[in-house]
């Protein structure tokens, strides 16, 4: 007969197995999605997939040869969006981080700026899109629907990420470095930029890469602001296609080639995001070793 102690032990073992099972359960959707994307997305990968623009919609069973090439215009559009969004978010985010760390230190207003960034990072991306829409419709209605406007919304999403990661990176530089530089009569701004920032650069870069990875996958604000064109970008004030919206297109379209293209776009996005994450992790590891040498 099992006594109480035995039962408790068995129960504990059972819970260990159960919790192990939850890890597996949690990982199933991840591998499932990656598997489906690799299978269905990989099958449309070709040189033409990356270079051709989005073709006309069609369905395979109509007998017409249905092209699944490609997402060239979407790639170009996403690149434009990310470049522009970085143009706004990186200087402002980095500047705010430097201000908080160099001039705020531990003071209350430095924490207020960090808190504002944290609060901003919780804003849903669709709300960011509506915000830019409401803003531009009043002041610059001509570019409300454009790659520029989409990039503004992505900038709003990227800004808090850049700011917080830059702030963390700057704060890892020990205070003794700052004191050593100041004691040599190096001016404050040179200390901040040429010594502290240079030392924190890998962390800052990582933050930028991570924020780009996040923005690359955003679709909600683009749905509102930068939607509908299948062609490549000609100028900043026109609507362009983007990778994330290509997926949305595949989801809402009846044409089978669009669904296939969407899988390809999904795989491409996953690869890009994973790639950016891995690169940023490598950058961080290399610096950890560099700073770790000696005292």
């Amino acid at each position: 007969m099992f006594d109480r102690a035995m039962r408790r032990k068995l129960f504990s073992h059972g819970m260990t197995i159960l919790t192990g099972a939850t890890v597996v359960i949690v990982l199933i959707p991840l591998f499932w999605i990656i598997y489906e994307s690799a299978l269905l997305g990989g099958s449309v990968f070709s040189l033409g997939f990356f270079t051709q623009n989005i073709p006309a919609p069609c369905s395979a069973h109509t007998g017409v040869t249905c092209s699944t090439e490609g997402v060239g215009s979407a790639i170009q559009g996403t690149v434009y969006l990310l470049l522009l969004a970085s143009l706004y978010s990186v200087p402002v985010g980095l500047g705010a981080a430097i201000f908080a760390v160099e001039y705020g230190g531990q003071r209350a207003f430095a924490r207020a700026i960090s808190m504002a960034a944290d609060v901003l990072s919780g804003v849903p991306s669709i709300v960011a899109g509506m915000f830019i829409y409401a803003l531009l419709i009043v002041y610059e209605p001509a570019i409300v629907f454009s790659v520029f406007s989409g990039s503004l919304a992505l900038g709003v999403i990227m800004l808090p990420i850049v700011m917080r990661t830059s702030e963390e990176a700057l704060r890892t530089i020990p205070h003794s470095v700052r004191e050593a530089a100041l004691a040599l009569g190096i001016s404050r701004w040179k200390t901040s930029v040429r010594i502290i920032l240079v030392g924190a650069l890998p962390g800052v870069l990582t933050g930028v890469l991570l924020s780009i990875a996040r923005a690359a996958g955003e679709a909600a604000p683009l749905l509102l602001l930068d939607n509908g064109s299948l062609h490549p970008c000609l100028s900043v004030d026109t609507v362009c296609q983007s990778l994330s919206l290509t997926i949305y297109l595949g989801a809402t379209s009846a044409s089978s080639n669009y669904v296939a293209i969407a899988w390809g776009a999904a795989l491409l996005l996953i690869i890009i995001i994973l790639g950016l994450s891995i690169v940023s992790q490598l950058v961080l590891n290399r610096t950890a070793r560099k700073w770790g040498q000696g005292s």
Partner: protein, 323 residues
């Protein structure tokens, strides 16, 4: 011995002037950036409020408790979507919380140390997948499985509860909740894991020395101590779920009504905006959508602030009680 050096005029007058101005300009530039960040936050609220004034003036507080959304009839009520949002988020949390905490417990208490971080990183990949990919996968892969395999079982087994009534086409509140729960898991797991790791060893050792089993140590000593941190993680996950758009809008069925069962098609506030944005048939529709966006903004901000406040208290409490 002379004090001569190669730099008798070092630093030059020019360098001195430049560094003074350099300091001033630098301070101004960075201060402007910091102000800009705060300005964006403030502008979000102000601009959305300004844009929704037409409906705020026309409907007043009715917006908050009207049960229907009918642009043609100029009836705009946020209730169906608030319910949709709350329902999907609640079910998502119901599914995600046990899984996330279970995973966190396994990773921190049972898994070998070298395995912990790599597996945790892999779980974080779930957060890296864009929500539109989740929506797309959900629509193409999950919806048919729900419709043909899962929903019938649920209807049979749990139909008596009344929650699983009606035709199930797979595009419904339930599927949206499932997708949402997958997306919420990484947040809760990461924060729970960190909270559990922050529990001092002494707590665990005290319980072990009293003869508690591993599970009892987790349940009675470790988790209660990490409770605030875990709750903060849950609230943070909730904040993300509330604002999720793309994954939800593709699988929820997009019906602007109050759902009566988990198999009903529904709509969240976020999916409403995404779905109805291009309709804009009547003049009040856009301001109404802006008001919905403002409503969503305020809710998510409030939830986020609560989560961070709990986190801050948890850190403070730990600092006080830590060895």
């Amino acid at each position: 011995m002379t004090r001569g050096n190669p730099f008798p005029t070092f630093p030059s007058r020019k360098t001195r002037a430049v560094s003074k101005w350099g300091d001033r300009i630098f301070l101004v530039l960075t201060a402007v950036a910091a102000a800009g960040l705060i300005a964006v936050l403030v502008a979000l609220v102000v601009v959305l409020y300004h844009g929704s004034l037409p409906t705020i003036n026309a409907l007043g507080l009715n917006f908050l408790y009207t049960l229907t959304w009918n642009p043609q009839g100029n009836v705009y009520g946020i209730v169906p979507f608030a319910i949709g949002t709350l329902l999907t988020s609640a079910i998502a949390l119901l599914l995600a919380i046990p899984l996330s905490i279970g995973a966190a417990i396994f990773l921190t208490q049972h898994a070998p140390t070298w395995l912990r971080e790599p597996v945790a990183q892999v779980i974080q990949l779930l957060a890296a997948i864009p929500s539109v990919v989740y929506g797309f996968w959900g629509l193409i892969v999950l919806v048919p499985i729900m419709r043909y395999d899962v929903d019938p079982i649920l209807a049979n087994v749990l139909g008596w509860t009344g929650w699983f009534s009606g035709r199930h086409i797979g595009l419904d509140v339930l599927t949206a909740s499932v997708v949402l729960s997958i997306m919420t898991v990484p947040t809760i797991t990461a924060i729970s894991k960190d909270s559990i790791l922050a529990v001092p060893r002494s707590q665990k050792e005290a319980a072990l020395s009293l003869g508690a089993t591993d599970w009892e140590v987790s349940r009675r000593a470790v988790i209660p101590y990490a409770r605030s941190g875990i709750i903060a993680g849950i609230v943070l996950g909730l904040g993300r779920a509330l604002g999720e758009t793309m994954a939800v809008t593709l699988v929820i069925g997009n019906a602007n009504v109050i759902p009566t069962s988990l198999f009903s098609q529904g709509q969240t506030i976020a999916s409403l905006i995404a779905n109805d944005f291009f309709e804009q048939e009547t003049p009040l529709e856009l301001p109404a959508l802006l008001e919905a966006a403002l409503f969503l903004l305020i809710i998510t901000l409030a939830v986020n602030i609560v989560a961070r406040w709990i986190q801050a208290r948890f850190q403070a409490g730990r600092a006080v009680g830590a060895e």
